[in-house]
Amino acid sequence: MELSGAQILVDSLKREGVEYIFGVNGGAAMPIFDALYGETELKLIPMRHEQGASHAADGYARATGDVGVALATSGPGATNLVTGIATAYMDSIPMVAITGQVFTHYIGSDAFQECDVIGVTRPICKHSYLIKDCDEIADVVAEAFHLAKTGKPGPVVIDIAKDAQLHEALFKYPETVDIRSYKPQVHGDPAQIGKAAALIKEAKRPMLYAGGGVVLANASEELRQLTLKTQIPITVTLMGLGAFPETHPLAMEMPGMHGSCCANYAFTDADLVIAIGARFDDRVTGDLNKFAPNAKKIHIDIDASCIGKNVPVDVPIVGDAKKVLTELNKQVGIADIDPWRAQIQEWKQKYPFEYEQKADKVMPQYVIEQIYEHYSDAIVVADVGQHQMWAAQYFKFTEPRQWLNSGGLGTMGFSLPAAIGAQLGCPDKTVVNINGDGSYIMTIQELVPAVTMKLPLKIFIINNMYLGMVRQWQELFHGKRYSAVDYHDNPDFALLAQAFGATGLRVEHTEDVVPALQKAQGITDGPVVIDFIVDEEENVFPMVPAGAGLGDVIRGLS
């Protein structure tokens, strides 16, 4: 029997095991939404903005490891998806973004709601397809999912002309996908792995530096084995938090601009850096000339173009982190580096993350500490800004996929919709959204679907009435000229939450923090928003000023 292109698309998505599709309807995608109507196996989640749809798909993917799917109409629907696609691309998140396109015979004529989506998204997706013929749909979907989740994962865009959605064809889903031009290298070169093991044996001051790639490769177990077997101190980046438990004595916490002094000093003194699924991002390395100047570097990454991009590498290993670490683990033993371990412990003890409790102020760090006390097992979805850094510093992550944030693109507005995706993907987990007053209002409309679906999200706003991270830079580097960062004119978020149909609480005193968090624990029939009114001008420390070396970290206190 012949099916419409739209039906073929829906059936193809089901063949890929897709549970949820996040979208906003519109003219050029109507046949697809029509095919989804009444569908129970593949549930359509109507979001309030396409950006929300793309972040929700992304959050679902980060929390579950499966491909997230977003759907939008042509033109403005598609351009609204762009921020979410770029966000997923920068963090290598497996996602498929589907957009309707105008009729084939209108393409290129500046038709109503026409936009060259393939052109617009070319630099921000792993690959893209324009489908003009319904015969292609099944094959393209199979390829797109294969590309999104294998090799270095990433978003794939499928743009489908409306006539291809409407025309009919036989549905035949390919059993296997073989793309002759796409053969990711997953097995590390044994000779290189041998060299790495030899370097590890010789090193006197080695350190492990793990990134989001470890989480993406589901290689946390292997990373833990490597660390425990060698007893080499480890720092995990913002993108990888949870890949190794931060509560472990060997954990140095995250490195970089707002990372721990211990991790940054370790880089500066190390004689060997073993990078795994981390990309020597400028926010981690600081001034490259001063970065790990005495260290040989081993770099394990699935993406050859990532290796040697910022920092010269002595032993490059291209491959899947899980496979490479499995091999490496067979060749290493406990490292004979007691003096170095003692040095690390000394730094750790001497320079923990710390803050000053100001009188009559709710300190944002205290709120995070208490969130950790009450929700240590939760999935935490943070937005972008100071609150994100405090969450990374003061919440102790112990499991991969427990911490979700837009690290690469730093997209404000990411967290609420991403939390919706995470909650749908992990219904048995508590999902905590740590948001900023500036970030929250960028995608606040997504509270509507959260309320409609009665998702028990814990939405905690660290409200400093400022675009705090920018204000901090203005304070430190622009003579306190607070240009366009004052958010005192924001609405009352607790009242607003109630208007949305959620529970809304406001906390203005330190002694009310814990009772409010406890109260939130008891609310399970829908989202609860707590607006924590915190110290307005608190800054994030430690801080490595832009352009400085990691050794020049400003510790803040003391």
């Binding site: 393939i118 630099p123 792993k126 690959h127 793309i179 050859a304 173009s305």
Partner: protein, 166 residues
């Protein structure tokens, strides 16, 4: 700054719409230069061959190599400048002004030197076809410039590795 090197890449790609834009976008998005570019279908009509000349320091060249490989539609990348010795050719069409027979005779003599072929002749101009490597074409163009070039069209470089000895 590390010394800049010139490299010729031979890139085999799927013969589909949009592939050239992906390759070009890779360069423009990263501020890498394309000095010359040639694209055409191969003997297998599903595959196109791109010959691409670029320059940069060793690290940039390595990046270009990896990024080309990373494109999904790219089947194979060869850096001809390092993979062995290669042969290369370009082709130029030059329309030279030949107002009087005296000048025409001279132009034809010069064309002979460069083994150029006359492919069109009008009373006041003629069109020459010359093939060769970059140095030869440059020399030819310099000379014909002194006679007055009316129009010039030139292909990008095409190149391939020499065959093996056995």
């Amino acid at each position: 700054m590390n010394p800049e090197e010139r490299h010729i890449f031979s890139v085999l790609v799927e013969n589909r719409f949009g592939v050239l834009a992906r390759v070009a976008g890779l360069f423009s998005g990263r501020g890498f230069n394309i000095d010359s570019l040639n694209v055409a279908e191969t003997h297998d009509s599903s595959i196109s061959q791109i010959t691409l000349v670029t320059h940069g320091d060793a690290q940039i060249i390595e990046q270009i190599y990896h990024h080309l490989n990373r494109l999904i539609d790219v089947i194979e990348v060869t850096d001809l400048s390092t993979a062995g010795t290669h042969v290369e050719r370009e082709l130029v069409l030059i329309k030279v002004a030949t107002e009087d027979p005296q000048k025409r005779t001279e132009v034809l003599q010069v064309a002979e030197v460069f083994r150029g072929r006359v492919i069109d002749m009008k009373p006041a101009s003629l069109v020459l076809e010359i093939t060769g490597d970059e140095g030869k074409l440059k020399a030819a163009i310099d000379i014909f410039n002194t006679y007055g070039i009316l129009e010039l069209a030139r292909t990008g470089k095409i190149a391939m590795l020499r065959g093996s000895d056995f």
